[in-house]
């Protein structure tokens, strides 16, 4: 059964020939908004299938949480592009598609004879979105790399995360992959939207590292460095130029303590019960507070440790301060605000059962989006896609299976 989505991107056909996070999440964004997305996996499956989280930590290729969350709304087929028959089949899919999203290292696509020149010859209108740690050109393009390697090549960790002199840190998730994925979805979608105007398909070359080095780090730092030759590094506190502006512990966890402008500071003083220390001259502007950060933070922590994060958030917000709880993942997952907005969606999956998934990343009222169908099982739609869509007969399908092509 071919699905006929009605979302904003309905009518756009996408092949996801990616693994792990970057290309699958990029293709998921297309799938969230109604594009017809077919995920093409090597017979061994997306590597994400070997990674958890698994229910009860028992590994199972159809029970990976990472695979599930980045592959909803897609149909799934297998194809061994390394074999001649498999490659021929892949080319048939390319003829069908408007978009190919992939995140194989450039050398790997070449070894399969699937670099852009090969693909363009098959379908000149296709937009090929390639997302890799380092991109298709430049001295590191042949390097091996994962999310962590890309992230640390950007200046982001050295500049903004970790204590001075200690190990620079990633964000605890696949930050470079996600940043590359959203950059790729946007630039790739523009290439699809303007395809007739620009005269056909093209390759959209995304380096996860470069996107962060430019749009996050470059934006705030590179002009100053180029002109003055000076640059800053991580400090371990949220904002060294002003205080309070950092994460502090409280009774049941942590809060993001922010009160820089005079109105915010006075609001915080009031919530804290106007303690005497807060009257000191050195605490009356954000810069002198920052110069005495150790002192002021130790005073504030005496107060925060007596209160819960939600108490602090509610009282401080009511007093006009942008202070928030540092929600744990569990707390964010149960947040009443997100529930009221319908951010979570219940889904069924044959192996995982009922899953409360994250919903659409943004709301398009005229053409709602978000995950509705669970991630495909390995090769689940082989017959539907190769038989129904491409019109291969049963004998041919059996031959392809026997040859290990699918």
């Amino acid at each position: 059964m071919e699905t006929r989505p009605t979302g904003a991107l309905s009518g756009i056909r996408v092949l996801d020939f990616g693994q792990m996070v970057s290309a699958p999440y990029c293709a998921k964004l297309f799938a969230d908004y109604g594009a017809d997305v077919i995920k093409v996996e090597l017979p061994t499956g997306d590597v994400a299938r070997t990674m958890g989280p698994f229910p009860g930590d028992v590994a199972h290729p159809e029970k990976s949480g990472l695979y599930f969350i980045n592959n909803t709304n897609k149909r799934g087929v297998t194809c061994n592009v390394a074999s001649e028959a498999g490659r021929a089949l892949f080319l048939r899919l390319l003829e069908w598609a408007d978009v190919l999203v992939e995140n194989n290292l450039p050398g790997r696509m070449k070894s399969w004879q699937l670099d852009y020149a090969d693909i363009q010859a098959v379908n000149p209108r296709l937009v090929m979105i390639s997302i890799t740690p380092f991109g298709q050109s430049g001295p590191y393009s042949a390097w091996n790399g994962y999310d962590l390697n890309a992230y640390h090549l950007t200046g982001a960790s050295s500049r903004y995360c970790g204590r001075p002199g200690e190990m620079p840190l990633e964000h605890g998730t696949f930050s470079a992959d996600y940043f590359g994925a959203i950059s790729a979805a946007t630039w790739g979608m523009a290439a699809v939207y303007g395809r007739d105007m620009v005269g056909g398909g093209q390759q959209v070359d995304v380096s996860c590292a470069e996107a962060i080095a430019a749009a996050f780090i470059g934006g705030q730092n590179i002009g100053g460095y180029a002109q003055d030759g000076r640059f800053d590094k991580r400090t371990g506190v949220g904002m060294p130029q002003g205080a309070p502006a950092t994460i502090l512990p409280c009774k049941d966890g942590h809060v993001w303590m922010l009160a820089l402008e005079p109105g915010q500071w006075n609001g915080l003083r009031q919530v804290m019960g106007n303690p005497d220390w807060a009257d000191l001259d050195i605490f009356q502007n954000m810069k002198t507070r920052a110069e005495n950060a150790d002192v002021i933070y130790s005073f504030i922590v005496e107060w925060t440790m007596q209160h819960t994060k939600m108490e602090i958030q509610e009282k401080c917000q009511a007093a006009g301060c942008p202070i928030t709880a540092v929600y744990t993942v569990a707390e964010a997952a149960e947040q009443p605000h997100l529930k009221a907005r319908g951010y979570f969606v219940d889904m069924e999956h044959p192996e995982l059962g009922r899953i409360r998934n994250l919903g659409a990343p943004f709301k398009l009222p005229a053409s709602p989006g978000g995950p509705a169908r669970g991630a495909p099982l390995l090769g689940q739609h082989n017959s539907e896609v190769y038989g129904g869509m491409l019109g291969l007969d049963a004998a041919k399908l059996m031959a392809l299976r026997a040859a290990g092509a699918i």
Binding site: R159, M167, A185, I222, I247, G253, A332, F362, P365
Partner: protein, 406 residues
């Protein structure tokens, strides 16, 4: 080569301020749209006054970081408190496709520019709103700064040293992230308009958009009831080891190293020349490496510290091991990879100075993005008010004198 960019002919009015909203405009602008920020000298955006300034001379038109972060946007200056200014904004919107804003919920309505109002001006207009926590819901008015917004998603609870407290990321990763993804939302709505003739009002909650990055850890909560915490640079799903950042020779020099497969493990051993100290039998399988990751990382760190970070990365890469030097801001400009990809570019500002900003961080096969520095306030007034809106010379001059155009 066809030099037309894919969004040529799309016109965007951008009320976005600070960082995230301007990046939406930038992204669409890089891709060929004509983007006009509406701003005013009556209330200058704070990022225009952020040092460092070109040639050290403070001015709202000389902030180097502002020029990088706002590149791609044009600018017209209107004091929206004046009814005639508001009318001019509406006249421009009547000739535009998209309106972008990142105020809090309700602000556009109070300005007289709510969605219903805009629809009256142009029936198929796309209004893109990106408040911190969405347009509705119990926490819609939550005050956050870009750098603390992530605290409401669970993301901040994952950042830090293994077993320790959360460490703040010292700048708003979510601003460029939401800005770029926001442009994807706009493109989706443009595609829907092309399919159906309908515009819409996009509710883009930055919280929800960014929380998708927490997906992998969120699934561990859904499947296992666990809420993760800081784990330094270890793999977000504890699926790879080694997976970390290690000290190198010199002051604050580090290398990132990831081993994702047994094959890569053998490559690492080959690069290390199969040393005695790395008791290979204890780390032979992925399970063993994960079980003893602290020991493994400590041993590796004793080895890496003898090497220069770049030399070691090159050595490891020559064996196929995923490794990168951890770059600081000062390394970016001269890094051969970013030089080759023209990630950072020197541009000439209309005021006569040269400055360095980031260029097209994604490479399009067709069409080269010509990036100019972020606009001076009112840089496009002549074009918009005289040519596009057809004001007479006299009326234009009057409106400038009366600080309506200001």
């Amino acid at each position: 080569m066809n030099k037309t960019l894919p969004l040529k002919g799309v016109r965007v009015v951008n009320f976005g301020w600070v960082w995230a909203g301007p990046v939406v405009g930038q992204t669409l602008g890089f891709l060929g749209a004509e983007v006009f920020k509406i701003e005013s000298r009556a209330r200058v955006d704070m990022t225009r006054n952020l040092p460092p300034f070109a040639e050290g001379k403070p001015s709202p038109d000389r902030s180097l970081s502002n020029h990088a972060c706002w590149a791609g946007n044009g600018s017209i200056s209107l004091n929206l408190k004046e009814p005639e200014a508001l009318q001019l904004a509406k006249d421009l919107i009547a000739r535009s496709d998209v309106v972008v804003e990142n105020f809090g919920p309700g602000v556009m309505e109070r300005l007289g520019l709510g969605y219903e109002e805009l629809r009256g001006i142009k029936d198929d207009i796309i209004l893109f709103s990106m408040p911190g926590a969405g347009l509705y819901g119990p926490m819609k008015d939550l005050r956050t700064y870009g750098l603390s917004l992530t605290s409401t998603t669970g993301l901040d609870s994952l950042v830090g040293y293994k077993g320790g407290d959360p460490i703040p990321v010292e700048n708003a990763f979510s601003d460029p992230y939401a800005g770029i993804l926001g442009a994807f939302a706009v493109l989706s709505a443009l595609n829907h308009r092309r399919n159906t003739g309908q515009g819409q009002h996009i509710d883009f909650s930055q919280q929800e958009a960014v929380m998708q990055m927490v997906g992998p850890a969120y699934m561990d909560y859904v499947l296992n009831g666990r809420s993760g915490g800081p784990k330094s640079n270890e793999h977000p799903l504890a699926a790879m080891a080694p997976h970390g950042v290690f000290r190198c020779k010199g002051d604050d020099r580090w290398i990132s190293i990831v081993v994702g497969s047994d094959e890569e493990w053998h490559s690492l051993l080959a690069a290390l020349k199969h040393p005695e100290w790395l008791k290979v039998s204890e780390f032979a399988t992925r399970e063993q490496r994960l079980a003893h990751i602290d020991t493994l990382h400590a041993l590796l760190g004793e080895w890496t510290v003898q090497f220069d970070d770049r030399e070691l990365a090159a050595l490891l890469q020559s064996h196929g091991v995923a490794a990168t030097p951890v770059l600081n801001v000062g390394d970016l400009l001269g890094d051969p990879h970013y030089v080759a990809r023209r990630t950072f570019i020197e541009v000439e500002h209309p005021l006569g100075f040269k400055e360095t900003i980031y260029g097209s961080y994604v490479k399009l096969g067709r069409g080269e993005v010509e990036v100019r520095p972020g606009p001076m306030i009112g840089q496009d007034n002549d074009y918009v008010f005289r040519e596009l809106l057809g004001l007479s010379e006299e009326r234009y001059r009057q409106l400038i004198e009366r600080q309506v155009i200001y």
